[in-house]
């Protein structure tokens, strides 16, 4: 029971972190029809920038400044790159963002090298807030949860309660009409892209100290983020939230419960082969839940796409 609670918290941290990325990605996708492959790269940039800033000004300034720089970089990418490629169609756009992801990884390696950066949580948060049955819950984890929640709530507020949010929501469905009404849609697009990437930047700043700040962090998280928004339904913010939490919890629980396939098979009534190393089914027998944990999101995605092609909450199949 206690373990469940610990896992719930860990899963929530992962899930909310995923959500910060998938929320920006979803916003960008539903507005521009572009799936930003480089989204996780902006997350990585966030971590690296924050690390660099924290060397001079400390963690909190990093948290404040890094996302802004990432957002500006994102807006620049939209303005000078994506807008140009847009005329060729969606597939070249996707290829462009893919190339951008590659290039950002190379640039990060160029500047910071291949090793992990010694980026760590601020000292003020390096203590155990409380512990559940011997499992210490560091304050930083709770801080991450609070940050993500705060961002989610303010995003929701901006989108549903403010004028800008109204324009964005309208531009999502009827870009032409909104443009005809005198709103500068390209500017809105650029802004949304900037905000979306800045959100990814925030995620990078707060996740970097925990998950590690290294050049592979973008691709490691990137494909999971795509899986998340596909499961949630492309273009659905609620879908992104539900799917993020779902994946957060699934992977956390799968990693901590050592359920062996052999036990299941024997429970069903199969008999374990005597000489396991020779059997063609030895992989099946030696399978454990933590082993398949990392691939569960992909499995889930494929299943969802087969049986519900527009995702859990998607309305249209794009």
């Amino acid at each position: 029971m206690d373990l469940i609670l610990v896992n719930l918290i860990d899963g929530l941290v992962t899930g909310l972190l995923l959500f910060m990325l998938s929320a920006g990605l979803t916003l960008i996708f539903s507005m521009m029809g572009v799936l930003n492959f480089a989204h996780a790269s902006f997350y990585m940039l966030g971590a690296y920038f924050a690390y660099q800033i924290s060397l001079y000004l400390g963690f909190w300034m990093g948290l404040l400044i890094a996302p802004v720089i990432v957002g500006i970089a994102g807006a620049g990418v939209e303005r000078y790159g994506l807008r140009r490629v847009h005329q060729y169609g969606h597939v070249p756009e996707l290829i462009f963002t893919f190339g951008l992801a590659l290039l950002i990884e190379e640039i990060v390696q160029f500047i910071w090298g291949k090793n992990q950066m010694p980026y760590s949580p601020p000292e003020i948060l390096q203590f155990t807030l409380f512990s559940i049955a011997g499992n210490a819950i560091p304050a930083y984890k709770i801080f991450m949860i609070c940050m993500s929640m705060g961002i989610f709530i303010s995003l929701l507020f901006v989108l549903t309660r403010t004028r800008v949010g109204m324009v964005i929501q309208a531009a999502l469905s009827y870009p032409k009409t909104v443009e005809a009404l005198g709103h500068n849609v390209p500017l809105v697009f650029m802004g949304v892209f900037g905000v979306g990437t800045a959100l990814a930047g925030v995620a990078g700043v707060i996740a970097g100290p925990v998950l590690g700040t290294f050049p592979g962090m973008a691709f490691l998280l990137g494909s999971i983020v795509f899986v998340t928004i596909v499961i949630g339904g492309l273009g659905s913010l609620w879908g992104a939230l539900v799917a993020s939490l779902l994946i957060g919890w699934i992977t956390t629980f799968a990693a901590s419960y050592n359920v062996a396939m052999a036990d299941i098979l024997m429970a069903v009534g199969f008999e374990q082969p005597i000489d396991l190393s020779e059997s063609a089914w030895r992989d099946l027998w030696s399978l454990t839940l933590p082993q398949i944990g990392p691939i569960l999101p992909y499995l889930l995605m494929v299943l969802i796409l087969v049986f519900r092609p527009y995702g859990l909450f998607g309305k249209r199949d794009v």
Partner: protein, 429 residues
Amino acid sequence: MTQALHKSTHAPQGGITLASAMPWIISTVVLLVIPFVFTSNSAITIMNQMAITIIFALAYNMLLGQGGMLSFGHAVYMGVGGFMCVHVMNYVEDYSLPLPLPLLPVFGGLFGLGLATIVGSFSTRKAGTVFAMISLGVGELIAACSVIIVVFFGGEEGVSGDRTYGLPFFGVEFLHQIEVYYLIVFWLILSALLMYLFSRTPVGRMANAVRDNPERAEFLGYSARWVRFFSFCASGFFCGVAGGLFAINYEILTEENLNLVQSGSILLITFLGGVGFFFGPIIGAIVFTLLSTVLSLQTELWQLYVGALFLATVMYFPGGLAGVIMMHWPAFRLGNARMLVLPYIKTFIPCLIGILGTAALIEMIFHLRHGAVGDEEMTLFWTTFNVHAVLPWLIAIAITGAAFWLTRRNIPEVVDAWHRANSLPGAAT
């Protein structure tokens, strides 16, 4: 051949003509002769790799260029075909089966086809983003499975075999690289020809139509989904063939043959070469293999350059190298290509110098930042200098700046020459 000639006068659209067969004949001859020109072992190794990449890139372009489907997980079809072939190879060895090695790629192809049939049955429902996402998910899934399903994928060390234990093929045992080269070339020509012919069949033509306008194709009686499905299967088959050849050439396959890096580079290769023309991926594969082998010997940063080149291609030359070449076709036909030579030389040489200068600056920064402590010397373009001194920096910046300034100044001339070369003689505009 006389018959073909005869036919060409009557049916400009019809069957095989000498003109349409010529590129095939020339490339076959070149492929057969080239090992006598580049005889070193390393050259043949590179050429083997190139030929395999060409097949893979052509197969990939059946989807991307001809069917408009962007796959982020296509390494899987080549990889799985390759793994299968290694297993068949070992099976042949263990049970002394009478299977000659040159037939092995067929198994790779069939396995690639089988996998593509399964995945395609649900992934080809939509093109565009959804297809791309499914391909990514399936690709990652299978790549991740490779560590779990050790029986088939061999875990982290992969599976390996020995090609020489098979039945000798007319006395050839494939002990030498050069024998493998001719085996690969045989499959290269065969698969390229088949893929080309596929694009000329009704379903191949409709793949183009579905790419351009799936809705219209549906109102012409074709199900866009089925058309995509057939392209996908065909592509899977040829990826599998490429995988089989990979297995024969390297005798080992690992997780690296399946992962996103591999899938990404085939996209990069194909796009760099140009998706709009059949020969585009061939150019892409040749250029990329050369870049990755030659450039990687010169600099640690080659992937950075390739990434930048790729992004520049997407932004400025969406037709890739093949597109750039074919852009000059009208001027060439008008007999005006000569008008472009001088302006090109005057612009592109400074431009090249500027790019090299930028690269030099990048290398210097990299050396300054990541070089070992005390290692202040570096060698660039056959000159050795101290990175911590000011002078080399000034020189590099001056040359780069001047070169780009010269490029910029000469661009109007190129634009002008371009317009003149592409207008009919005596035309009013």
